[in-house]
Amino acid sequence: MIPVRQCLKLAPLCCQIRHGSRMFPQLKRGSFNRITDEDVNLFAGIVGQNGIKTEELDHYNTDWLNTVSGFTELVVSPKSVEEVAAVLRHCNGRRLAVVPQGGNTGLVGGSNPVFDEIVLSLERLNNISHIDPYAGIVECEAGVILQNLSDKVGEHGYTVPLDLGARGSCFIGGNLATHAGGLRVVRYGQLRGSVLGMRVVLPDGQILDGRSNMRKDNTGYDIKQLFIGSEGTLGVITDVSLLLPQTPVSVNMALFGCDSFDDVIKCYRLSRQCLGEIVSACEFMDSLCMTSVNDILGLASPLEDSHPFYYLVETSGMNMDHDMEKLETCIEKVFESGCATDGVMAASKDQARHMMSLRENIAPALKAVGFNYKYDVSLPIQHMYSLVEKIRNKMRKTEGAFSVGYGHLGDNNLHLNIITPQYCTQALSLIEPFVYEEVSRLKGSISAEHGMGLKKANYLRYSKDPSMIAMMRSLKDVFDPNGIMNPYKLLPWND
């Protein structure tokens, strides 16, 4: 029986929710105070009655993957930077722990409370203040949903230099706090390169105003870079200025079927040589990923046969004829060299969207099958798939388990997923710390784009030198001496 169907058959009907604290039984609640009615009334005074929620908080307590869940009793949603500052000032004075939360689409349990931390939601800071159509700059608040930002700047012929499957729910503030990667890093570079300015509120309520629209500004230390990727542990991002690329006029998509991962790498190399600067996404997936989206979500493969691997390349440019010429050369070279045995090119926007949806829906499809152990790692390209094969071998005796590999080939970023019918510590012990040891041995990163959050915090040493970790702790103490900002996250709490 196909592994996907076998796993589905064994999985219980409901998803497992592992409380953050129970997932790590040795994790003890920090010495924070507990909220009282007075605190709640004070917050209501700052943000208004509409900005306080004390009931029906599952949505804030639990992560998108249904793998961690906390016990918060209060969600505070300020609607201005001043309100954020006032809320944090009070929390700092009262030693109340706080979890800043955006769209709650994180994959490492970093945006949810572990115990009773107050959730500070950015959902009401959703104003897009200004778009400069000449310079291609947008100023907006942290709570703007990525899709909305994209639509708004799209009206002026610009696009956001970041795109990921969670675009309909994630907030730009969260994208910055986690330094999200996504599909277009290969074209637009990492997000931090597009940030011109930011405003942040520190844990003690101080407002750090680093707002700027300058493309080049070498005046002193670039402090905003510290907050990008800090996962809400150093402060709360409230505003950002982003540099925007032009919306491409001509977008094309091609999907190739390959017999081996070596062939995928050859395909990738050829495509980058032929397509050069018009490449806007290079993704790969294995056959079990394709089977999952076919079977679980009913999305059909555009290729007739099934292939061991699939390579997806997207091009974006300003001139259709120019791009098509490059693509045709690329396709000829790929088939001449034999590194792909079949392929399709999208003949319409609909087809292009469908092909990308096959890649974007792998995570939702796998989520529906059973419990997902997700690993997002950077590896040298030639070793990217061997890790999947090694894990698959380790899991061969676990009933109903199957392993898949897919990801951003152009960034050497593998998404390794192991799926079991339900969470079990025995399976986890086969996977961890083996995965981290392997990645460390190959000098890769144990978290390419997902961040450390709660789930990976204790493994920081696999990718960072002790001296670096010590410096991170020093900086954390500088910004957050009371340790109230998103405790238990990012930095190891149990080495």
């Binding site: 555009p302 290729l303 079949d342 392929g343 999208a346 609909d350 087809q351 969207r353």
Partner: protein, 255 residues
Amino acid sequence: MSGLRVLVGCKRVIDYAVKIRVRPDSLGVVTDGVKHSMNPFDENAIEEAVRMKQKKVVKEIVVASCGPSQSQETIRTALAMGADRGIHVEVPAGTDANLQPLAVAKIFSKLVEKEKPDLVILGKQAIDDDANQTTQLLAGMLDWPQGTMASVVSASDGSLTITREIDGGLEDISVSLPAVISADLRLNEPRYATLPNIMKAKKKKIEKMTPDKLGVDITPRLKILNVVDPPVRQAGDKVPDVTTLVEKLKEKGHL
């Protein structure tokens, strides 16, 4: 029944997923630099012809398109899907927006004289003009039976059984060959043009023609006076209870 020759029509239109913008002169929509693809209904038409060829009912598929030089790309897509050869009836760029169903039907009627197909399959309507006229006009000109809005087509001994999607539901008819049919969206799921086929398609023949050479007068009979955006939808009002709802309805004169 086997060995039929099929003539399929396809049209290059603005891609259905593109956000249309009205031209500043209000006489049409902006087409410059906008993504174009094959009319979705025509994809169904080609797909049906290819499936009939796979079942060996059809021996040869000729695909024809009337339009500017870029229509060749649309013909190439059809060739990559499985058509055998193409005919491009070229009209000067810019005038293609005024190429109306009557003119197209006349052109196709001349192509039928030339190619002598047993069956003509067209898309039900083009998504730019939504006319749904060419099939009917052509059938009339040729005095051939027509099976329009086809969602199921099956062949047997010199005739076709067609299920049509009509306002009241579904209608089954039988047409004798030769005939003209128009494809609806539910007729089939069009295949993707695979890359090896796209490369093979480059070697397939596309014959070039003009309306003049066919002796067809394509002067438009209809003149577009004005093209405007639909009115912006007004925001609604949320009311807390039924009493307020009734009040508001009375206020606005709806009750």
